[in-house]
């Protein structure tokens, strides 16, 4: 191996390590969850973006995957899965706004900062706020929708209700009633009867979230993020919006139940384990034969 080749190899290894460090920087640990406000992901970014500057940043950091034209067809696209976002459709997974509406600026800033877990989209939190704002303003030039439409009105998330066994049990009934298990599986493993055939809006196969994997959600880590995810749905994917069917505090019941499916220590899982130790026999299984208690 020549000196030059050795040097290239070591640079490549360093690059891989950096990417790995990036991806794991905010991993949900097995010993507790970051709660709202802890990370910098959702801190408001009040900078005014400059599309012409953003274009340069975009070409440097984003175009490799998202493509020069913002259509998600960068030179890396053929090698990666899930596929990079196609900005020309202005359809975004992580939104605070109703399904079918544009996300708020802050929604996209939050995604840039936190990245998309289990994908090739790393966290871009180290970029200065001004740079993030510039990128955002350039991303918004790819679809005419940003000129003709306004972002939707964010779904209201009420103050979280107390974590109680009753709340978890009500959430469990919702998991059955709204047929979450059809895709996410009776134990939240992402292996429900409809899971295998799922495709995203670009006809790419897609897996439902596996709650037992212990990873972060695509759109955040907190209970409020979880609430927002099923209320707004993840546009461009099979995950539908439930805001028309789940009202106010009801949503917290479902959040509390979903937390018990994860292999992480949460107030919900601790309470649930204690309750299950003496009451497991009272539960009907989730699934086609009706699982409500």
């Amino acid at each position: 191996m020549s000196r030059v080749a050795r040097r290239i190899a070591s640079i490549a290894a360093l690059a891989v390590l950096t990417v790995v460090a990036f991806a794991n920087g905010d991993a949900q640990t097995m010993h507790g969850l970051p709660r709202e406000g802890r990370g910098a992901d959702t801190m408001p970014n009040k900078r005014v973006g400059r599309p012409s500057v953003g274009k340069e940043e975009y070409t440097r950091y984003c175009a490799g995957c998202h493509g020069d034209r913002g259509d998600g067809m960068g030179e890396n696209t053929q090698w990666i899965d899930p596929k990079p976002r196609d900005f020309t459709q202005a359809t975004f997974k992580c939104r605070s706004t109703p399904s079918g509406t544009l996300p708020t600026d802050q929604d996209i800033i939050n995604t840039i900062r936190r990245g998309i877990v289990n994908s090739n989209m790393p966290q871009w939190r180290p970029l200065p706020d001004q740079m993030q704002a510039d990128l955002l303003s350039y991303i918004k030039t790819f679809s005419p929708r940003w000129k003709s439409e306004k972002p939707g009105t964010p779904v209201v998330i009420p103050a979280e209700t107390p974590v109680t066994t009753e709340s978890i049990l009500r959430g469990r009934e919702m998991f059955q009633k709204f047929e979450c298990w059809k895709c996410h599986g009776t134990e939240g493993r992402g292996d429900g009867p409809s899971a295998a055939a799922l495709t995203d809006s670009k006809d790419q196969p897609i897996h439902p979230f596996d709650f037992t994997s212990g990873t972060r959600f695509k759109c955040g880590t907190t209970n409020a993020d979880l609430y927002r995810i099923f209320m707004t749905g993840l546009d461009g994917t099979p995950m539908a919006s439930f805001v028309d069917n789940i009202k106010g505090d009801q949503g917290w019941d479902l959040v509390h139940y979903l937390r018990t499916l994860q292999p992480i220590r949460t107030p919900e899982s601790t309470l649930w384990k204690t309750w299950l130790a003496t009451h497991a026999a009272e539960l009907k299984p989730i699934g086609p034969e009706s699982g409500s208690r």
Partner: protein, 236 residues
């Protein structure tokens, strides 16, 4: 008896007029859509994963992408005025799309841009309605049993594939058009577009597998012009 007959006749006349109430006097374009070639064989749908729907069907339900009738007639074709149609407000009545026994009724729903769309769930199972719009905004909403109709409007003309991710065999189309002069053919392939004021029109036939075809027609008065379409069947 005479009165009864005339009442019945009146009722019949009203019924006959009712569907075309939106389009008053004028010319009519009518015809039939057929295909040439060999259409793909449609497969029966296996609804075993949704028992509540499976047991509602005594005979197997077929995929509705290609529906044919006697004499090579072709169903589920949207025939509409694509150019020259008189401008007007979209119909006040909503276009309704129903989910029944895990099927879309109808398979292809034509509506005018700006017209209200109403989506109902008559099933005992949750559906998610996921119209994969590209020109209009894409959305995806859940509709558990017993929930109220979902209301929506599309502003721009587009043929939008619609699917239910939970039940992958459910797929259909919203045909959002710039006109209310449209008809989706049944398996007899027949269509009729009435109430056309004198003028030159482009009539287009669209089929989800076999593509589109356009022809021109001129209406001078209240005559009925005949315009048949022959689409080429493609295997895939």
């Amino acid at each position: 008896m005479k009165i009864a007959t005339s009442v019945a006749l009146c009722a019949l006349a009203t019924l006959a007029l009712a569907p075309s109430a939106h389009h008053t006097a004028g010319g009519t374009v009518t015809g039939k859509v057929t295909f040439t070639g060999t259409p793909p064989k449609m497969k029966p749908i296996d609804m075993a994963k949704e028992p509540s729907c499976a047991k509602a069907h005594t005979i197997p339900v077929m995929n509705e992408s290609v529906v044919t009738g006697a004499g090579n007639s072709l169903g589920n074709v949207v025939v509409y005025i694509s150019a020259g149609a008189p401008a007007g407000a979209p119909p006040a009545t909503a276009a309704t799309f129903d989910q029944k026994n895990c099927q879309y009724l109808p398979h292809v729903l034509a509506m005018e841009a700006g017209q209200k769309l109403e989506i109902k769930n008559d099933d005992q199972t949750s559906h998610n309605i996921h119209p994969l719009a590209k020109v209009n905004a894409e959305w995806n909403k859940s509709q558990p049993p017993g929930s109220p109709p979902i209301e929506a409007t599309y502003d721009k003309p587009e043929f939008i594939p619609v699917k239910c991710n939970v039940h992958p065999w459910m797929h259909g189309y919203f045909a959002v058009l710039n006109t209310s002069h449209s008809k989706v053919t049944g398996d007899d392939g027949e269509y009729s577009l009435s109430g056309l004021p004198p003028g030159k029109y482009t009539v287009t036939a669209w089929h989800e597998r076999f593509g589109t075809q356009s022809q021109e027609v001129t209406i001078t008065g209240t005559e009925t012009a005949k315009l048949d379409f022959v689409l080429k069947a493609t295997e895939y």
